[in-house]
Symmetry: C2
Subunit: 745 residues, 2 copies
């Protein structure tokens, strides 16, 4: 369900990618190494064909074609000569029984809630197999109330509404998609006392404003709807009924009140065609300029006179989620696992989301199988995972991770995720220890359209997009490409943020804009007209992750570099310190303006005026533990770099020393977690990266500290600083351990 | 025709406003002084009634009701006991004979080109007296060509089009209003080879996006059109046939080729209702995000497939323009003039533009007349001017200034302009020597709704709007409110920029948003529902300018303060130096990116790619003459301040010394001009303030230098720096002269 907002990305370790064989393994690598050999194998027509087959019918979780696809994927893995099996979980999955949205005042209107088939797009007409347009994990409900427009429905929007004198308590809110993960919208609405929540795609963000609409162009048409889960993923991902444990057995009965991640109020997504009459019927204050979308009307916030009824009833049932797992056993370190996963379930046909990522995974499996046939034996075990039920809330990956948590803690070295893939620029997010490695991988893969390394094209784009000469200088001078920190929205979350396994999320995009996300139009007809039409970026993805897998599986010393981690974390530490100062300064300034009578004097007397409240003075915090721990990590990282250089090429043949070094390096990412988890959401254990509690997709780095400041929980800030300092100290210890292991004879 | 974009503004001289009588004059001032007495006189109902009468019928230049208004204004002046007379000029004024705009391909459409009357708004139905919707001083023409959308139609937009591979040569362009004065659009279009120009009001800037449309709300409705002149005002204002000289005689014949400010191509304004089918019929590249407006369509730039015909024919004739000038003779220095002017002609009924400013001028005249009856005799002569033909290009003021140039150079001390007035915040622009004076005036007038001085309310607004703590600190700590530099768009231009007479432009606004500018809906019905509905800001304007007139007329030492001038100019010098560096750095960066192959590597291969051209290296310039002259002015200003303080109260009774000081002070503003005028436009003689050659309304400060850099005329930059340094040196000499006069016994 990965949303298009990554556009991110990535040579210390370049040698690793074509490393000569240091330890015994069968076969001899071809000239250029196994990774170079792999990159010759993937074929776009094969990727195209598997995309066509997998997206030929709607295949959501629990549907017949979803099961068909699981078995077909298993067959492919077997056909490539890989061990593979299906692992089944039993998860909660509601589908709609009844959906009514109607306006009763000031004019009557009933929303269509349906996406029409499009001529020339055969699968768009598979109406009987398509899931209706809905948000899964909304509760049942039947509410009638005046409507309020809440912009994106994030906390700041409700502050703005309060300043306009508008309260949503007892109202139904209508929010536009964007600005947060969708599940945030009903969560925040319910916190403010709303009775129901409607989410629509505004054409400003996702419709004709962005380009010609489907089928003329790639953008979302008038009646297109974004389906999607609204379960409270920032609390925990996976089956709502089974946090922390794998849903390995079908329950004989279940109680919905145990599902803590369901919404508190009913919520329904609609098209902009359906939203238009509702928004046109709003009165009250004019919406702030930046709230106004592209519908041809004057945006007001209400409440009313529009009064709407929202009635939703779901069929709450348990369905099987089938993960398909293939395995290439390691020849030297079989109990060290390198994983790549991509989900295969879709909301409807999902040619883009997720099949554009899954088909390259299959092509990569074929390529790896071929290398094995040619004699390659990876030193470490490789696992390829086709996840089910990702769209519902990362179900397949989360349940699998929870089921195998103990084994994964011991064995998993790196998890690589992919999801939707498109045309354009390489993007990469993940653990910052892997920044040089990712840069190397991106330097080994050639952009299919521009014929230059994808890392170089990305660097050029960043140079072109940079706002200042300083930014450009850093991009030009820094050896490695910076990679993004990961929030959530795809299957890396249970690996990285629940277990603390070093993770990456890789793909291509940015030249594949479209408006079919989670609609019936995300299908083969659309994809082959507007996205990676000849599947050359699908091939690039196979090459990219195949290269990464071989690099990681065959590396002697694992390519975890503590320097970019310490460098990046130092930046985050500065950010949270600056954030605290900004918040304090802003509160002081506001208080001064209130004392001087500024707001009252400036306000337009013809508009409603709500006097701003004096803020509680924000205290000064003790950031020194974090600063000391960050500095200690930086020192340790520097020492490690020196020690690694000093160890020289002899190291590779000293297996015992390599294993001691690797054991320490593998300890860095888990060291960044605390068993007690983040405040209020113990399932999330990573103290550097988490999805924002009020953003969802978007990451909050140093989340315990940052969110305590953002949410003005002043009494907890110092203790969260101390907790976060602790994980940095633990990580520094692991780096020192690695350095000592390097130096030991 | 002043557009809503001033929102600007302003106690060293506070004493002046209630100054005791230093020299002989008749009558004794009331407690609080004459200015305080004046502020008690204006009555909103009188302002309302004169607005109603003056806007009762369409009254454009040359129309019967325009003449009626001139005579009625004259009668009012006489009624208030003032000397007054009408001075008539004979000017070129085309009105439409034929207007056709039709789309021939890919679908046929004929633009309505008409504003429908609105129920409940009686004057909107005076169809037979209304001017059709058109742009005056467009040439005649009949052109048919494919259409290209050019955003605001400013030079940067054509650079963007070129980067998209789109050329407008041989095409008709459609530009939206905004981003420049309207006359810039056909000028730049013609420079790029376009055959015709259509200008429309996009609802994003001026329509439903901004608020409910008329008559439900104040904003521009679907068929509302902005009329207006497109004569090339940045070359010279006034009658196109008579630059530099007053059009005092009706020519027996004239040749249009002498009218150098006519457009080069036909141009027509249209409504967004008429624009919608045209824009919807454009193909070609998607318009850049920031070019897209609020019409419910996907904005493309073309060219075509839309093909349009634009046919325009005008009745070119000479009409009388009647200025009504009232006079209160000075008792001490009758040959020193303080002027206030506001135009009275409108495009249609013009209740807002210009009557909302003219009615307060009449009320101010009544108040001054009453003070005279009570015994007040201003030391200096006061002139109140009701200008005709402003909408055509500042005709009334320009022809009057050109006719009386020699006398004005000797006698005019300060010209104060007003134009449209509305509800909200005090705004002030003009000569920076008057900054402390303006702050004093704004401190003496009470906001009618907030009951605090209008200067304080403005300061509070600036504090609230400030982006940084540094900005807020300056606003709080600086004694005076900064005032804006003046560009053009109203009648101050001939005084300030042609003759070098110190000028101010004053008014209220910012809480009076609307979309009726230059349409039939700018009328009494609209104004009394949406703008200064009870005319209390009209009263505030009478009080403000009345206070300023008395302060200036009765001041012993004129309140010209060289410190804010030198302070502001130093800022401009830094700006142009920074601009040169930015341009040089940007050119170097672009060249580096071109050399590295960045643009080619980053460009989307499915979009047209136009390789950027290498820039000619921008040289380093010698800014030192400007920096030295600016520093000399600052030193002189500081000395003057010290000398003024040292002179003490005794100065006021030393008439000879005061006159020597004043003579020098009055020389400062003319010193800022050069007789040869600005490069390429000799009519504009002011070297600190000018309307931008490619912006129109908006000011370019240090225009000779700034525009040479912006337009990459590298060989002329050093000489323009020297020319501009020269005016600063001349001004510094005048300040030194004033200081010496202060110190002389």
């Amino acid at each position: 369900m990965q949303s298009k907002s990554f556009l991110v990305a990535v040579s210390l370790f370049a040698s690793l990618l074509a490393a000569p064989d240091a330890f015994s393994r069968e076969g001899s690598p071809p000239a250029g190494g196994w990774a170079a050999a792999l990159r010759e194998i993937p074929e776009p027509p094969r990727i195209r064909e598997s995309n066509r087959l997998l997206s030929a019918e709607p295949h959501h979780l629990g549907s017949p074609y979803d099961e068909h696809n699981a078995r077909w994927i298993l067959d492919q893995f077997h056909g490539y000569g890989l061990e593979a099996s299906i692992e089944t979980f039993y998860v909660l999955f509601p589908t709609p029984r009844e959906r009514i949205l109607e306006m009763q005042e000031p004019v009557r209107f009933r929303a269509a809630l349906a996406e029409p088939p499009v001529a020339g797009d055969p699968t768009s007409a598979q109406t009987s197999q398509q899931l209706p347009t809905y948000n899964a994990y909304s509760i049942d409900g039947d509410v009638t109330a005046p409507l309020v427009y809440v912009n994106y429905g994030v906390p700041a929007d409700y502050e703005k509404l309060a300043s306009l004198g508008v309260d949503v308590a007892g109202k139904i809110v209508i929010a536009r998609y964007g600005g947060s993960w969708r599940g945030i919208k009903p969560k925040v609405a319910a916190e403010h006392g709303a009775l129901g929540c409607i989410i629509y795609s505004d054409p400003r963000d996702d419709g004709f404003f962005q380009g010609d609409v489907y089928p003329k162009g790639a953008m979302r048409p008038d009646q297109g709807v974004q389906r999607g889960s609204v379960a409270d993923m920032p609390t925990y991902s996976g089956d709502p009924l089974t946090p922390d444990v794998g849903a390995t057995r079908e329950p004989s009965r279940f109680d919905l009140k145990d599902a803590r991640t369901l919404t508190k109020i009913p919520v329904l997504p609609i098209s902009y065609g359906d939203a238009r009459p509702l928004l046109a019927a709003l009165g009250g204050p004019l919406a702030p300029t930046e709230w106004r979308g592209a519908l041809p009307l004057t945006y007001h916030v209400g409440p009313g006179p529009a009064k709407v009824r929202l009635k939703l009833a779901f069929d709450w049932k348990i369905v099987p989620a089938r993960d398909v797992i293939a395995r290439i056993p390691g020849s030297v370190w079989p109990d060290e696992w390198i994983l790549h996963g991509n989900h295969y379930d879709a909301w409807v046909n999902g040619s883009s989301d997720p099949i554009s990522g899954l088909s390259p995974l299959l092509e990569e499996a074929r390529a790896l199988g071929e290398l094995v046939r040619k004699g390659w034996r990876p030193k470490r075990t490789i696992l390829l995972c086709a996840w089910d039920g990702e769209e519902e809330g990362l179900f397949g990956s989360t349940e699998w991770v929870e089921t195998h948590a103990e084994e994964l803690r011991r064995k998993a070295v790196v998890y690589i995720n992919s999801d939707s893939n498109g045309r354009g620029f390489f993007f990469a997010g993940g653990s910052h220890t892997l920044e040089p490695f990712v840069t190397d991988v991106g330097s080994a893969v050639v952009d299919p359209e521009k014929k230059i390394p994808v890392a170089q094209r990305l660097r050029f784009k960043r140079i072109q997009d940079a706002k200042t000469a300083d930014e450009r200088r850093e991009i030009r001078d820094r050896k490695d490409l910076r990679i993004e920190a990961l929030g959530s929205g795809s299957d890396f979350t249970p690996f990285l943020q629940h277990l603390g396994i070093a993770s990456l999320n890789l793909g291509y995009g940015g030249e594949d804009d479209g408006g079919v996300y989670h609609s019936i139009y995300d299908d083969f007809a659309w994809f082959t007209r507007f996205s990676d039409t000849d599947f050359v970026y699908g091939k690039a993805l196979s090459q990219t992750i195949g290269t990464a897998l071989i690099g990681l599986a065959d590396a002697d010393v694992l390519p975890f570099d503590p320097v970019p981690l310490s460098d990046t974390v130092a930046g985050y530490v500065k950010e949270v310190r600056d954030l605290a100062k900004e918040r304090r300064d802003a509160a002081e300034e506001l208080d001064r303006q209130i004392a001087d009578g500024v707001p009252q004097a400036v306000a337009d007397p013809r508009l409603p005026f709500v006097a701003p409240k004096k803020e509680e003075p924000a205290p000064y915090f003790d950031f020194s533990p974090l600063e000391n721990a960050s500095a200690a990590l930086a020192r340790a990282a520097k020492e490690y770099t020196a020690a690694l250089a000093a160890a020289g090429p002899a190291l590779a043949s000293d297996r015992a020393r390599v294993e001691r070094v690797n054991a320490a390096l593998r300890g860095i990412e888990p060291a960044l977690t605390l068993e007690e988890g983040l405040p209020g959401r113990p399932w999330y254990k990573h103290y550097i990266y988490a999805p924002g509690f009020y953003t969802g997709y978007s990451v909050k780095t140093l989340p315990a500290v940052r969110e305590a400041i953002e949410q003005k929980q002043w009494p907890t800030v110092n203790s969260e600083i101390a907790a976060t300092a602790k994980v940095l100290s633990k990580a520094a210890e692991k780096v020192i351990e690695a350095t000592n292991a390097l130096r030991a004879p």
